[in-house]
Symmetry: C2
Subunit: 387 residues, 2 copies
Amino acid sequence: MRNVGVLGYGMVPVGEHWGQSALELAGAAVQAARIDAGVERIDLLVVANMLAACGSHGQLNLGAQIADWSGLRGIEAFKAESACASGGSAFRCAWLAVASGQVDLALVVGVEKMTETLVPEVTLGLASAADADYEIPHGPSFVALNALIMQRYMHEYGWKHEDFAPFSIVAHENASRNPYARLQDRISPEAYRKARMICDPINLLDASPIGDGAAALVLAPLDRYPPRSGRAPLRVAGCASSTDSLAIHDRRQPLRLQAAEESSARAYAMAGIGPKDVDFFELHDAFSIMSALSLEASGFAAPGQGPRLALDGELQADGRLPIATHGGLKARGHPVGATGVYQIVEVVRQLWGEAGRNQLRRAHTGMAQNIGGSGATIVTTLLQTQN
Amino acid sequence: MRNVGVLGYGMVPVGEHWGQSALELAGAAVQAARIDAGVERIDLLVVANMLAACGSHGQLNLGAQIADWSGLRGIEAFKAESACASGGSAFRCAWLAVASGQVDLALVVGVEKMTETLVPEVTLGLASAADADYEIPHGPSFVALNALIMQRYMHEYGWKHEDFAPFSIVAHENASRNPYARLQDRISPEAYRKARMICDPINLLDASPIGDGAAALVLAPLDRYPPRSGRAPLRVAGCASSTDSLAIHDRRQPLRLQAAEESSARAYAMAGIGPKDVDFFELHDAFSIMSALSLEASGFAAPGQGPRLALDGELQADGRLPIATHGGLKARGHPVGATGVYQIVEVVRQLWGEAGRNQLRRAHTGMAQNIGGSGATIVTTLLQTQN
């Protein structure tokens, strides 16, 4: 297996891009990544997308379409989908293709266009990440499923709603310094406490905003394509994906992200490191409860103790394990199928010292974790600089 | 890169499975393939599917769901999609994962459930393989787009409609001996000529029937997992995927399948063989015109001369290049996202001498070609027995 490195990245700000189609957003990210990587040629394009197939303006075959639009007509292309973990799954496909030796230059682009779709269609589309036979017919939206988990978690472990505040406050703080973020305003504990209730106990500031966006990465064999001058070689040290049941009621332990436990354990083993070696963590804070569960499953906190890390200030930029360093899903925004690629782009920016005002002092090993459904597909990726 | 072999396969008959969900169909194929391969363990499940995301009962995250349903909860899983070439793309993902050394036992399952979806939804879903911005708004269905190609082809090269008859007659002849086929009746030249017109010049017997179905394959490193006693080692000798524009009007030569030319040339190069070394060809005869274009693009006939091979009887079971040896899309049926996997299963059955009454006398090198859209994504796969 070849060592695979990141060669470049590109993205568009997450927001409401009324004037741009999914194709235009994806094309902009693809071109930015090629320019950043300094390569014209691309051998394989893997597209991550969740919702373009749904709704009245359905578009399948996005791989070929985005390749053509980006001036790459002819190359291999396809879409990988695992709901909101599509970005992580697509990244893993691209990584394996380069690792195998079959492909030299792989480009993964995550794209989602949500603001032009009618709200009921988006809600239905997002719900299709859950079990369409045994969960959705009972009426819950995707927010409601997460609310059930959060309610139970608070009951089991005795946390109050306000104990989750730091997750959102930290994310907004970091997003306020990220021009690519959807919500660039800071929030106060009081604002969090008073935010409009969406689905008890999830209020508006526990939930990430959807949005339009596209992010892209170029992968290549590390020995044949060194990064451009001034950038450290950046290796994919570990990348693993695991699954669980779609339906929450089918899980053995609904308050544990089994697929995160397994994928992080395998990613650590590949990289030969453990949680203590991770400098920062781009986690999947679609809802604040998911931040807690993700930290626990990945070995950063004991079961039920995720909020403790947040309350102790350890997740802030100057803490022991900074999270959501560009704003996370909560404030950078959650263009669902693209999110997993944004996360890895953000890890790369930290590792290359290109995170602007969000730059961490110590950034040698970064981790991204991308969740599809309420925990059904989870991809954990570890990147490391080599000096 | 490791040598990858096929270890086993499984499938359900293509048909109208009113009593079974996509999950049940996929699960049946997965279990059959695991039993056939003689392995309990699976490391990676790649799902090929096109339409489950669409319509009112949308289901994304199929990878995790099918893994769980099949008793494989926890393993890595995701969906690959490139419209009707999803099966080929998923196979290539699984192949690269095993070739890389990261994964030992990969299972690819193609599944499609179409008969419980309302006809207008299926028509819209199929159309989403074409360009949703520049083709579909003008009104054509997917049949109509193929009819435009066929009309132009007949005009350019002077063929009459009846010259395409042998493609369909051969497919139905072979399907009559395949218990897994959707249409097991033979058809006569007269029936072909008199068939109901669907979209001039495509009549009912030029078009493949949709259907429900699922097919699966287990891949593994050839040196570590030899096939069971009595079966020859079966190697993936070449597998390549190429793309073209989604919209037909954007192509430089609308009567040439550029992506088939490129992917077959690359697959031949990987295998170190040429068209003359191919013993039989599972082509993508969604419409009879596609058979002609596929034969030409893959080096079996000069441009415009595909129907000549058919008229000369060279594509029959006893001809120089048997095609659609189990009935092809035309008569075995076309459960869109699953089709590419059925094609490769059929190649495997021939190579292992397990094709029953359709068994060819010479089957050492078999080729499958899977087309997504009207030629936008094309995956060509070559399998060879090793003795």
